[in-house]
């Protein structure tokens, strides 16, 4: 019986005028969205390759004099994520590169800003289309499943058969969703064909598995909205009422909840701006440098007061006393600097983490937000990638400090009389052996592990509306 109901529902949907319309929308939108983003990705990849090549050339001709002068800025580029074709996520807001210098790292420009015409219209990618358009259509399809049949009078006829109401509901949901899912699958496959045709590496690494996951999660997401529509339909007596209710729900999930959660998080946990923090850091660095220069100058004057010419003699007794003292002072300040900068970074990161977590948790009330976050992490353009990127930048700075920047010591001294002097010591550096910047991307399993809450949200939104629809339908007046 369940099968009959499901088959009837599928056939009915396919025969309705809405079905070809929906198929047309999907076939038009999804491949187009994929194609546009693929072109965009290709451009970013070319930029990335060009830039890394230039940076590599620059690094090869690196000389110790540059390091001494403090003008060296090594760049580490982030390779654009291929699966950003499916969802942009944070992709266009990540800095395209970081610049590493003796004094720490600074973020370069984000990759998104260069194409103003695209920025003006907003992004249209696969996830956005599923989230905004397909979800709305799923709601629309489900909106008159119960109330429509009641109005037509067929609900009564069906229930005069030996058919329990739960089977009817499950059959209707399954059959209706199948009719929706087939055009969705079809357009996804067409989109993949378009990608393949455009030369996108579909089968490199675990890309195929990830794409399959993207589709699976999208299907579950569409089902979620379908079930929500079903619940609304079972709770209302007139088809028009359910339409309005559905539109309101849709707006709340897509536009209001995600933004409200940001806002609430900002109010509860306010955070200083990054400009403020970097200003605070540079103030600290300058203050420490000054203090260190003063202390070095004092020691220098004390040791070389009687024999100023011995400063240039390698083996003079004064030099033998001076060198360890200088190294000790520098070591102490270096440690102090990294400790205090680390503390600032750590508090800031904590503040930000608190705020982000709150915003994230609140936004998961909406299945759309849960879906968008999960898929963006699967595609390597989400929150996970952001933290990986930040971690890679920090560890690369440490590696460069050890391999390159610590090879050169610049000794700035401030003497009591007010004069300044600068001295250098340098060790040879092999420019070709410098560490390469790379980000360890999260694996698929890690992406799912980090998104447990999103999954729970999606599944809850699947079960709760269905249970609600069932409870409502049991009491439904079918006349």
């Amino acid at each position: 019986m369940l099968k009959t109901i499901a088959r009837k529902e599928t056939l009915e949907t396919i025969l309705s005028y809405r079905f070809p319309l929906f198929t047309l929308i999907c076939l038009l939108l999804i491949p187009l969205g994929l194609f546009v983003n693929q072109a965009d990705y290709g451009k970013r990849l070319r930029d990335y390759q060009e830039q890394t090549r230039l940076a590599d050339e620059a690094a090869k001709s690196l000389s110790i004099q540059d390091v001494m002068a403090g003008t060296v800025a090594l760049k580490g580029f982030r390779r654009p994520s291929p699966l950003s074709v499916f969802t942009q996520g944070f992709e266009s807001t990540f800095p395209a590169y970081y610049e590493f210098t003796q004094d720490g790292f600074t973020a370069g420009e984000s990759s998104g800003g260069s194409d103003s015409i695209l920025a003006a219209q907003g992004k249209v990618d696969f996830v956005f289309l599923v989230q905004m358009v397909v979800s709305l259509i799923a709601l629309l399809f489900a909106s008159d499943m119960i109330s429509g049949e009641k109005e037509a009078g067929t609900l009564r006829a069906m229930l005069s058969n030996p058919l329990p109401r739960d089977a009817l509901l499950a059959g209707k949901a399954g059959g209706g969703f199948l009719a929706l899912w087939i055009p969705f699958l079809l357009s996804f496959l067409v989109g993949l064909a378009v990608l393949l045709f455009a030369g996108f590496p579909l089968f490199g690494g675990d890309a195929a598995a990830r794409i399959a996951m993207v589709f699976l999660v999208s299907s579950v997401f569409v089902l979620t909205y379908y079930v929500i529509g079903l619940a609304v339909s079972a709770a209302t007596a007139k088809a028009r009422t359910s339409l309005v209710a559905i539109l309101i729900l849709w707006t709340a999930f897509q536009l209001i909840i995600p933004k409200m959660s940001d806002m609430a998080a900002r109010l509860v946990h306010p955070v200083r701006t990054e400009t403020e923090v970097s200003l605070q850091k540079s103030l600290l660095v300058n203050a420490l440098a000054m203090e260190q220069a003063r202390e070095l100058g004092r020691e220098y004057d004390r040791i070389f007061a009687n024999a100023p010419e011995s400063a240039n003699e390698e083996n003079s007794p004064e030099r033998k006393r001076w060198d360890p003292i200088r190294d000790g002072i520098q070591q102490r300040y270096r440690e102090r600097k990294s400790r205090e900068l680390g503390a600032i970074d750590e508090t800031f990161a904590q503040e930000k983490r608190r705020q982000t977590n709150l915003a994230l948790n609140l936004s998961l009330i909406s299945p759309s937000a849960a879906f968008a976050r999960l898929v963006s992490d699967v595609c390597g353009t989400g929150e996970l990638e952001r933290s990986r990127y930040a971690g890679a930048v920090r560890s690369h700075q440490n590696a460069l400090d050890a391999e390159l920047f610590s090879k050169v010591k610049r000794t700035v001294m401030l003497h009591e009389g007010g004069g300044t002097s600068v001295g250098f010591t340098a060790m040879p550096v092999d420019a070709s052996k410098l560490p390469k910047f790379s980000i360890a991307s999260a694996t698929l399993a890690e992406a799912f592990k980090a998104n447990g809450r999103s999954l729970v949200s999606l599944i809850l939104w699947l079960i709760v509306p269905f249970a609600f629809a069932y409870a409502k339908f049991l009491k439904y007046d079918v006349r």
């Binding site: 830039q51 944070f90 259509i137």
Partner: protein, 410 residues
């Protein structure tokens, strides 16, 4: 008669629960948007206070534009800081948003809400105007009076537009008042003029969707059919068409990538510097060559990319949503035209700074930039876009009038 019809439509709306729910929803959205964007603006102002150039720094950076609360547009790109140097201009992000969660969903500015949600609301107002009255049988009764079908349609259009416009202006007004409770939010008189123009434009945009709704409602027999058809058209207008033009333009006009430019710039620079070092007497000439060639390169790039943007814009205008966004952001001073103009100004400023360095002046010239006046914006395409929206309105309304004439009211 028209007056009676209009009054009837308004009363009809006021008595339906749909009206109240939809208006409540719009109010929540608009308030949320103004609040979120207002805070964002405040943060950016605080950032600007920190990075603002001192008199001895040659940096071009614009303060945040208060109208970006309503139309964000390319504000992030406009408020970048530009540092002139011999090998071209270095752009840096003017600020870094403290809350990056913000970037995950599109910025919910006023223009976005009008573009996506209020257009949908206008469709909701129009989608069942004719077909439902037929279903209820009141259409027959109305037409038994001495009223022409054209007047009937116009009465419906006007009545619904008024029931849309009045709450819309009220809500926006209240939101604006709340925004002004914060002393750091200040707008100039011309800012209010611009805002009024944006509101008017939004109304024209919504009226267009109302006409479209009435038209589709008059060609379909059942209101459920009309809603589905309208949603399809809505998705096309709002999401698909505004991007196809860009896609096509990209294929037609080829623009060198921004980073490829960097390479060319470096080549020229290295070549001329080596020449300058080898023959010392003509050093100044070589520097001049560098500057000229770089300017030419920049000019060529700019011309190409402007041509592409023009083409993309022209193609995107098939969708009224694209035209609406372009004009609204231009009026607010955050549009594509404003950005191109700023970039040209920055290039000119770069020349001035280099000149002053050559003359070894103590203080670099300060960067000054004035947004285009409303008149200039309207003259440079704004008026065309507004006219374009009106033309869409007239076409949809005329099509609706024809459909109503042929409508079987039984």
């Amino acid at each position: 008669m028209l007056g009676i019809l209009v009054r009837k439509e308004i009363a009809d709306n006021l008595l339906s629960y749909k009206f109240f729910i939809v208006i409540l929803l719009s109010a929540v959205l608009i308030f949320t948007s103004l609040f979120v964007m207002g805070r964002d603006y405040k943060n950016r102002v605080a950032d600007y206070q920190l990075i603002r150039p001192k008199p001895d720094q040659a940096v071009a950076v614009l303060p945040p534009n208060p109208l970006s609360v309503f139309a964000k547009g390319l504000e992030d790109s406009l408020t970048r800081s530009y540092e002139p140097s011999v090998i071209g201009i270095e752009a840096r992000t003017g600020r870094s948003s403290a809350n990056t969660v913000f970037d995950f969903f599109p910025a919910p500015d006023f223009v976005y809400i009008v573009k996506v949600v209020l257009s949908l609301v206008a469709l909701l107002f129009g989608f069942d105007r004719i077909s439902r009255e037929r279903e209820a049988g009141t259409l027959k009764l109305t037409l038994a009076n001495p009223v022409s079908r054209g007047v009937l349609l116009f009465g419906k259009w006007l009545g619904n537009l008024l029931s849309l416009a009045v709450p819309f202006f009220l809500i926006t007004g209240i939101g604006l008042a709340v925004l002004h409770l914060d002393p750091s939010f200040r707008m100039t008189l011309s800012g209010y003029g611009r805002l009024a123009l944006i509101l008017l434009l939004s109304l024209v945009y919504m009226a267009l969707f109302l006409s479209l709704g009435l038209f589709v409602s008059a060609v379909t027999r059942r209101s459920a059919t009309s809603l589905v058809v309208l949603l399809l058209i809505w998705a096309l207008i709002v999401f698909v068409l505004p991007n196809t033009g860009t896609l096509i333009a990209r294929q037609i006009v080829d623009v060198p990538s921004t980073r490829g430019m960097q390479e060319k710039r470096n080549q020229i620079w290295t070549r001329e510097i080596i020449l300058a070092i080898t023959n010392k007497e003509s050093r100044a000439e070589h520097f001049k060559v560098i500057e000229d060639e770089l300017n030419r390169l920049e000019e060529d790039y700019r011309n190409k990319s402007e041509r592409r943007i023009r083409l993309a814009k022209a193609l995107n205008r098939i969708s009224p949503a694209a035209g609406f966004v372009y004009t609204a952001t231009e009026i607010a001073g955050t549009g594509i035209g404003e950005e191109a103009r700023l970039k040209r100004e920055v290039v000119r400023y770069n020349g001035r700074v280099l000149e002053s360095r050559r003359r070894e002046e103590k203080q670099p010239p300060a960067f000054e930039y004035a947004y285009r006046s409303i008149g200039a914006v309207l003259a440079e395409g704004g008026l065309f876009d507004i006219a374009w929206l009106v033309v869409f309105n007239v076409i949809f309304f005329a099509a609706g009038a024809v459909a109503v004439l042929r409508y079987d009211v039984r």
